[in-house]
Amino acid sequence: MRRDRILLAHGGGGSLTRELIETLFLPRLENPLLKSLDDSAVLVMNGQGHAFTTDSYVVKPYIFPGGDIGKLAVCGTINDLAVMGARPLWLSLSFILEEGLLLADLQRIVESIGTTAGEAGVQIVTGDTKVVERGKCEGLYINTAGLGDIVAPNWLGAANVKPGDAVIINGPIGEHGVAVMSQREGIAFQTSVVSDCAPLWPLVKAILDTGAEIRAMRDPTRGGVSAAVCDIARASNVGIRLHEDALPIGREVRGACDLLGLDPLTIPNEGKVLVFCRAIDVAKVLAAMRGNPIGKHARVIGEVSERPPGIVTLRTTIGGERIIDMPTGEDLPRIC
């Protein structure tokens, strides 16, 4: 059965998204800068390294507990810069608005963008606005592109991780996805989980300031921790083992996952970072993270080994072992 159309799952950030990129986009657009498929591209201009990235935001509904599409549009993009070791500096901001969108909603979202950017020390320097007929987009879509200065002393990239490294996360997972799902019409389900949407740069800076050699960082957004760790295992050709009893999952997120039949490891996060560092640096990296408001619950959740190369496994609470596979991407459409 040949596929001839785009499916919702192609936007899920999982294996179908990767397939689309590898079979449709890359062959036609390929160049060395694109090929690494990291969270941002690294450009060198006048001897200074810069990170450049773009993201579009189609989250439905556009207002949710803990934030809105505006805050997300700023954080999502600046975080993709931060995890490359770049201090975010400038953003572009493009709107696609639906005819009939309430100006009060738009105002609230723009205020949110302004506040988030201001607190993150980032400037919106250029933008665009388009309007489409009623019914052609749900409320609004946003695209932001970001530019930052690389500050990290060494290259951070998905292919840089080595056997013996540790995997660290800064806090509990699954919050953003659950918060958005709780607002989705037709699911009629309530929870007090709030999106963890937040800028990561201050935390990343604290990690870089320790002087530890960080191999890679990744923000586990679409596809969750599963997709992010699978990407790294594949790019670095290493085996990564996570420990189920070390994974920080809040009680309420767990309850929501039970109710909705979801795996917390595949749920998007918007204020989390996975840090891959050398084992000897773990203590000082954790200390630096725990000193930051969004790193209080930082902990080691796994380790990297040589075998099995490219595969991620989970040691379960009962002592068994299973593989964590790349999610296909259809469980949670329109979460980011």
């Binding site: 509990p172 929870t191 009893d245 070390a246 920080p248 009680r251 929501a256 109710l259």
Partner: protein, 66 residues
């Protein structure tokens, strides 16, 4: 958690949802139920609930994060 006609609001570790309780006898506020496809199919009594919690505790070595 809440009861109205044949619909009840249930809570799973704080996440709340409406389910139909037509298939269980005399549901009351505070009862624990087993849910499938949006319906409660079994009501647990106190000793059954304790048994489930004991199993969960025995298996759950994680730190609680609230």
């Amino acid at each position: 958690m809440g009861l109205h006609n044949s619909t009840a609001t249930i809570s799973v570790d704080g996440a709340m949802r409406d389910v139909d309780v037509s298939l269980v006898e005399e549901p009351r506020l505070g009862d624990y139920v087993l849910v499938h496809a949006g319906f409660a199919i079994h009501k647990w009594d106190q000793s059954e609930v304790e048994e489930l919690q004991a199993i969960r505790t025995a298996m759950d070595l994680r730190e609680a994060i609230t």
